[in-house]
């Protein structure tokens, strides 16, 4: 009986789980291996004797040196960080108030407004960048970080609003009513009770918004032109692919370094993040 259960657990749980982890982690592994692989190994055919496609025999940091010395990678990293933080902050602030209002206040047209905000999220970026480019140019924001800080909220605010609206709905309204009887104004109750209780939701909205703007490509490609203003995703691709030559080692080194901040953010807040997505508030 016990034995049967054990192999069933392997068959239905451990083996599929292992396959899934392998499937999701392999690209990361490939990225890391390529970043440390010397050029000699990189541009050699696998059919050759003693080829080692899945690991490297002579790990090297030459690609990292090359990346940092020959490109403005650190500058890009700084740009990306600034743009992602600023647009996340703006979107989170707007999303907090909008989400609170849509979930708690009963006013004429609140449902319509909620749906309208959601619809703006559904407009594909690949269409929206055309009119946005016009606006960015008219406002003379082209080739500045503000062209992205002010355009990313077009998809981040609807996202934050909806996520937070859902989270606020899971918080019993009695908490707020009790605070208002206890002597808080509506704003006081919101800041002292509802927002602290909603921290998991706020954090997961923030992490998501940060990741989305960190990885964003199209707007960054269209609105930024000079090398120093670029973000990591655009900089790496435009500077390390020259014509049909791919600088694979440096590309992967850039990708590896570029994904570190996001990975750090996730690993710090993973518990809050899970709680935020499942929306559990215990009285």
């Amino acid at each position: 009986m016990v034995i049967e259960r054990r192999w069933k657990k392997w068959l239905y749980f451990y083996i599929p789980l292992a396959l899934f982890i392998l499937f999701t982690l392999f690209p990361f592994y490939w990225m890391a291996v390529t970043a440390f692989r010397p050029d000699g190994e990189l541009y050699r055919t696998w059919r050759q004797a003693n080829a080692t496609p899945f690991w490297t025999l002579a790990p090297t940091t030459e690609h990292f040196h090359g990346l940092l010395e020959s490109t403005a990678f650190l500058r890009w990293l700084g740009n990306t960080m600034f743009i992602a933080l600023a647009s996340t902050a703006i979107s989170l602030l707007c999303g907090l108030f909008a989400g609170y209002a849509l979930s708690r206040l009963r006013f004429r047209g609140s449902e319509f407004l909620g749906t309208a905000i959601f619809i703006t999220y559904l407009v594909p970026q690949t269409l929206l960048f055309i009119p946005l480019a016009d606006i960015v140019r008219d406002m003379h924001l082209g080739n500045t970080p503000w062209s992205l800080i002010l355009t990313y909220p077009t998809f981040l605010i609807p996202f934050c609003t909806w996520l937070l609206m859902g989270y606020f709905k899971t918080i019993p309204k009695e908490l707020e009513e009790c605070a208002r009887i206890d002597g808080a104004t509506r704003f006081g109750a919101m800041f002292r009770i509802i927002f602290p209780v909603a921290v998991p939701g706020i954090l997961s909205a923030g992490i998501f918004a940060f990741t989305l703007s960190w990885n964003e490509f199209i707007y960054a490609l269209v609105f930024l032109s000079s090398v120093e203003e670029k973000t990591v995703p655009v900089g790496v691709v435009s500077e390390l692919i020259r014509g049909d030559i791919f600088f694979w080692g440096q590309l992967m080194a850039g990708a590896l370094l570029g994904s570190v901040p996001v990975a750090l953010v996730y690993s710090f807040f993973v518990e809050y993040y899970v709680a935020g997505m499942t929306g559990s508030v215990k009285g």
Partner: protein, 364 residues
């Protein structure tokens, strides 16, 4: 300390749901007033209007000397205990209790003194540093009570505070609430759907149905002299037995008759029922007004029936019987030995017969 007066209170939702209909109520100073009724009867809405959490469609609410219609909840000097306790999950028990005082800018020493005093009364001192999620249901309930009493408000509002507790704890907390009210003697309004809670806690009880006040009175008054069929059926467990009967006059007196039942109307009621002669009225008999007949009982106040179900509860036996076509419940002495399908004669107490108008359902 304050009296609370509701006059002509109405609540409309979206102009088509009339949740509270013209409620007039005078809650006396230091009184423990219970609002009771089935769900959707408007009792919670009424309470929330007193609290200021729900707008008043029309009418007036006065707490003490002030008309509070337009005051926000924070300025009404009230404290409320919610059904789900509504403890702030991110604050410790101490901070939960202190929050209301902090918001009112009390001195730190005063806050500490009051929280200590309240936690002593409720026996929650060892829990002050914990977070709400580390507490059991009963402990959370106590903290919610503590949070209300530290403020020394003019008025306590309770919205079904015991309904999330298990049955045993509920009985225990009921007693504690009553003791607490005795000690603090602050006016309290308490909403519940549980008639036992209403009867045990209330100095007076308001029975509501469909947004209308059905009757206001002391618990035993509601039990003994219900104003209408709804109150009669709602108060008391098991519920009152009802049968539709015809009132007939004969030489011997006035009789209430239906298939399988023929009961003499006691002289005290006969006069009031004269106008209903030949017509239908509702006869109401509480299960505890029925007992197994012995030789001394007169046939005028007895009915023959068949036992269908026997429910021995230890301190009493509930008999589900059928008299003619009428199902009845009788609450009889635990020493009674009866079997299912047995024929039985039950005697009833003529002083405890209730008659209700068949149309208006008002007591006659």
């Amino acid at each position: 300390m304050a009296e609370v007066v509701l006059s002509g209170l109405n609540k409309w939702y979206d102009r088509n749901v009339h949740a509270v209909k013209d409620v007039n109520l005078h809650i006396r100073d230091r009184e423990f007033m219970v609002l009771v009724g089935p769900s959707g009867c408007g009792k919670t809405t009424t309470l929330r209007m007193i609290a200021g959490l729900e707008e008043i469609s029309s009418g007036e609410i006065r707490i003490g000397e002030r008309v509070v219609n337009d005051l926000p909840p924070m300025d009404r000097d009230i404290a409320m205990v919610f059904q789900n306790y509504a403890l702030y999950p991110h604050k410790s028990v101490y901070d939960n209790m202190a929050f209301g005082l902090q918001m009112r800018k009390f001195a730190k020493d005063e806050i500490r003194r009051r929280v200590q005093a309240a936690s002593e009364i409720l026996g929650i001192q060892p829990l002050l540093a914990r977070k709400p999620r580390q507490l059991s249901g009963g402990q959370r309930q106590r903290v919610a009570l503590g949070r209300a009493i530290v403020r020394h408000p003019q008025l306590f509002l309770f919205d079904e505070p015991l309904s999330n507790l298990d049955a045993k704890l509920r009985v225990q907390m009921r007693v504690e609430l009553k003791r607490l009210h005795e000690r603090l003697s602050t006016t309290a309004v308490y909403v519940t759907h549980d008639q036992v809670e209403a009867m045990t806690l209330g100095d007076r009880v308001v029975v509501m149905k469909d947004g209308l006040v059905q009757q206001v009175g002391e618990p035993l008054e509601l039990y003994g002299r219900p104003a209408n069929r709804f109150v009669a059926g709602f108060i008391g467990s098991p519920a009152m037995n009802f049968a539709e009967v015809t009132i007939n006059h004969s030489a011997q007196g006035v009789w209430a008759e239906t298939a399988g039942l023929r009961i003499r109307v006691p002289p005290a009621k006969a006069e009031a029922l004269r106008g209903h002669a030949g017509g239908k009225v509702l006869l109401g008999v509480r299960p505890e007004a029925l007992r197994v007949a012995n030789g001394a009982d007169v046939a005028d106040y007895a009915l023959d029936c068949t036992v269908e179900v026997v429910e021995p509860l230890g301190n009493e036996i509930l008999l589900d019987v059928r008299a003619g076509s009428h199902p009845l419940v009788a609450r009889v002495d635990p020493a009674t030995r009866v079997k299912v399908h047995q024929s039985l004669r039950l005697a009833l107490d003529p002083e405890r017969l209730h008659f209700f108008d068949a149309n208006t359902e008002a007591a006659i």
